[in-house]
Symmetry: C2
Amino acid sequence: MRPSFPLTIGLALITAATPIAAQSSDSVALAQLSLMPMPASIHIDSGGRLALTPSFRVAVPRFRDGRLLRAAARAITRLARHTGLGLTHEVTRDSVLGTLVIDVRGPGETVQSVDEDESYTLDVTTFRAVLRAPTVVGALRGLETFQQLVTATGSGFTVPLAHIADRPRFAWRGLLIDVSRHFEPVDVIERNLDAMAAVKLNVLHWHLSDDQGFRVESKRYPKLQELGSNGEYYTQAQVREVVAFARDRGIRVVPEFDMPGHSISWFVGYPSLASSPGPYALPTDFNFTAGAFDPTRESVYRFITRFVGEMAPLFPDHYWHIGGDEVDARAWDSNTAIHRFMRRHKLKDSGALQAYFNRRLSRILTAQHKRVVGWDEILHPDLPHDIVIQSWRGQASLFSAAQDGYSGILSAGYYLDAMSSAGQHYAVDPIPTGSDLDSAHAIHVLGGEACMWGELVTPETIDSRIWPRTAAIAERLWSPSTVVNVNDMYRRLATVNVELADIGVHHLSGPDAMWRLIAQTDQIAALRALQHVVEPVSLGQRMHTRRPTLLTPLVEPGDIVTPDARGGRALSALLDTLFHDPSRAPGLRDSLAAMFAQWQALAPTIAALTARAPLLTDADSAAGALATAGGIGADALTYLGGGQPASSAWTSDRLAQLDSLTAPRGLLKLAIIPQLRRLVLAAGGAASATGQ
Amino acid sequence: MRPSFPLTIGLALITAATPIAAQSSDSVALAQLSLMPMPASIHIDSGGRLALTPSFRVAVPRFRDGRLLRAAARAITRLARHTGLGLTHEVTRDSVLGTLVIDVRGPGETVQSVDEDESYTLDVTTFRAVLRAPTVVGALRGLETFQQLVTATGSGFTVPLAHIADRPRFAWRGLLIDVSRHFEPVDVIERNLDAMAAVKLNVLHWHLSDDQGFRVESKRYPKLQELGSNGEYYTQAQVREVVAFARDRGIRVVPEFDMPGHSISWFVGYPSLASSPGPYALPTDFNFTAGAFDPTRESVYRFITRFVGEMAPLFPDHYWHIGGDEVDARAWDSNTAIHRFMRRHKLKDSGALQAYFNRRLSRILTAQHKRVVGWDEILHPDLPHDIVIQSWRGQASLFSAAQDGYSGILSAGYYLDAMSSAGQHYAVDPIPTGSDLDSAHAIHVLGGEACMWGELVTPETIDSRIWPRTAAIAERLWSPSTVVNVNDMYRRLATVNVELADIGVHHLSGPDAMWRLIAQTDQIAALRALQHVVEPVSLGQRMHTRRPTLLTPLVEPGDIVTPDARGGRALSALLDTLFHDPSRAPGLRDSLAAMFAQWQALAPTIAALTARAPLLTDADSAAGALATAGGIGADALTYLGGGQPASSAWTSDRLAQLDSLTAPRGLLKLAIIPQLRRLVLAAGGAASATGQ
């Protein structure tokens, strides 16, 4: 390190200080930035800026390895694309020449563990930015922050003067991707890894087998992938590629092979593993299936031992996920040999039998130096304390596990297929304020994982189901618990949303492509406009409307639209201003009237499209409902502008109409009904609606 | 074949009949279809339709191989996505069960040659469609036609009753992709191969080496890719993957290793191959470089022999492209040993020396059973007659080669980087009507190739440079020479444009993604609107404006917009109707007024975007020019509506203003100036403008 660096604040600071969100001497400057996740500590100095010019250069003066240099090269490429500058990719060792100096102490762990040091500091002066980190992984995190700091000012791009000291709140910050129900090719996985790195997530939980498909090549047991999939699976070379790609981005890859339930795909090729003789076929639907491994036969454990022995070198991570969820006891109940075994071993019920299976599994994995992770059903007094519990059924099981000394990760509340809003996920904290978990037990809460289950996503739609909402979850897991301002989260999420597209995620281009596909035209402006005020129904509603199977192509409007419809939030903000700033009311009423007129105009346009594109039917139906809503909104505005409140008959009639508009239109629902209720109530003179 | 098939028209028909474009008993039905390329012969019967239902099933009753079954599976997947139907992927052998019966006589050639039989017939009745072909390649072509026939009618999808007998006009229908200047990853190549197959192209000409980069892994000479590229190259496994992917789609892969010029990238690692000692570095610009192989040294031929020996098995095609273009004689002139060699071998000039080199090269390639293709510079009396000449400098060289008995392929007029319109390329015919080439010589014209040179394209932009224009070139090369209606081509191209996006081409999503990148927002409606009336400047203008180098990130508005701006063509059509159908004039004037008002409104919106996104500068400038044009258009409409012609002073003043608006705005030009000239002239009372 060059002693002449003018900065004195080192890594000690973030080790010592309690993380404080967004400490800033200049909150205006901070409000113009869109960092996500918010750093543990940030200080902005508005007294100048570091300009990015064609002479921008990266210096790596001390430790350097391939991983760090590749990350620097990726950052330079992104900065060049972002700024349009023809930047050199040559990285110098001379820190004096560097506009961005990356000063790293060492490589970090050979196999990244849950204890990896991810901290960094970033100091930006008018001359240069200095990123310091004890490990390459910390530098990767800091590089993402640096790129988020770059903003356009006037005719060029600059970085604000800043001191940032950052480290994660939780050590396990994951995303589960289920590739069993619908396969996701390597490029889908890799672009999602890039996006994960951008928001500082560090675990890809790869759900590689389930009833509907087994997705990894086994050379020892080739019928696993050959008969246990539709031909879509990862070769071992591809697995190595993904694991290396993830490591390059400071991301661990934890494989999950779900057992003893959720395992029909194993039994298609190897029925002797199962507790019933079979034969087995891959399900073409998502109904609950009652097949399970036979925990009583030694041949099953020999198979698993050899299988794990083959797979363990492919997945260097210290953890291995055994699944363990939703075992249907009927699979065992109907087998008299299993009954005899249970009596002989004094296993009183199927829970005890599964615990027996998990203990055996745990021994096999321990021999391969793997620690076990499993869904919360595996929690059982007979299991060793080094297993990790992943809570999906609720936060309570996470706390009870922690109180019993088990480490845990939270997924309840982070299910992306539930079609909840970013704000709803953001409100879920692995250790909520006021939790009665004491600090001795709280350390067992390692973090959380967003879960992208695969029943209803394809390579075309998965990105828009994961992003940008997962960025909000990533912030919850990285940033201090005090970072909770939902409006500011949404403000920053809008910027991150665009950055993620630049990184290569298809969450914005995908919906457009799907509209073009099902509308059979590239004139889709009306459908884009509809998309802004429409959301998908919940998972439960979806599963009970035209119940999808594996053959369903998933190309309906409900597969395209996303939670957090922009129009709903925008309308709420307009109403807030309308009711709280009378001076702006006339202008806002005009804007609202224009918006409602646009809603009414969409219906005939979308009806015309639907006449030649039958797959648009739900969109047509939703556009009709939106037109009705627009009419109600327009009438309410007339009352509000006239100064005389609407009659109670009008009000109750319109509220009833709005109630009927809350019903799903096929797989769609309108995202603006509560806002219109507020407007109608205000037109009727209700003070509660205007907050006055 | 099942004897009960009700169809009697067999393959004999297309062998015997002179191809006749679009023979149809129902031109209305045909005008609703969007086949491209147009089949050699098509007969539509509007007396019914074949309905696609969930029970749609593919039957392959006779010959079947992996290639055919994979193609069937892809077609089923696309049909399911297109229709939303949950179709089975199980292919039956029982033709009675098939909705689409694919009846193929045999596999086709083991290594597809330029003589491969690509013909097929397709017969659609109300019960089923029967696709018959002598080879799997013919079946691949017919499958694409079948998919283009599927149209939405009422609440479902149907296929019109049709008899199609089809075969290509030219045997060599190619697309050159230059991956040297900017590397294009495998997924870019593969999605372009999918698109090529959709429009029945059959040759990928892979320009693998040039001054700026050597893009194939050589295990024997690893410094070729290690020092001769920026680290981006295809591994041999990837080459095999691409070649297999192409073969699956009936596409040959012809590699080009350009020599003796355009070859600096070879010399970085192996300077002894060159006529000057070096050292050599990869150029970072596109300036003409004076490096060339030394044709006088035996060690050079030994190197090439071993190199070709290593590469030949990777590229099974019978042809090998040696480049041979633009050799700078200075590379040889400055070397006295080369002068001595030329005197000793009686080689009177550098042309003779290159011919000597090409003869040696030709012998090396012949030993590997390869025939030579080269750019038209290689044509020389000393060369054997089995070489193929690719004409880039003009059609004349193609004809003179044919008259000398050399086979040739046309690329002059098909350069995609010239930024010409689809209509301009469409007008270029390898054997134009009225050509004085007699039929004995015309058979030497094998076909043509669209050329996508790589100086100014990246993986993000290449798709929108290739597509959809290349579909028009594909039709020129496949369809009968009588298919020349430009308006109908554009009508069909609009449909194919959307299909190509569904196939996976990024030509529509890419521009949106780039706008989002450089505008740093996903609110890009104004930029999309601008894109409709703006085109990129020509290649020549581009190269002389802010001269780009290899470091230029190519993220400017000029990298986003495309030829064939939709708004220009739409405006022309509106004016045609305005001037020829007085009854519709008032309504059309209103539409035009709204359009001109929208143009004027774009300027402030785009100016506001540009204030925080400096890379939009050209868009801002073009929007300003467009606003001026909109004002002129609005004034002209006022005159036209008022019944009194504008003064000649007004007219000449506005024409002068329009002239000044034809100047490029950075890398952009307005695509609506000729149309506005017409409107201004009409406002001034000029009969020539209205055609009356």
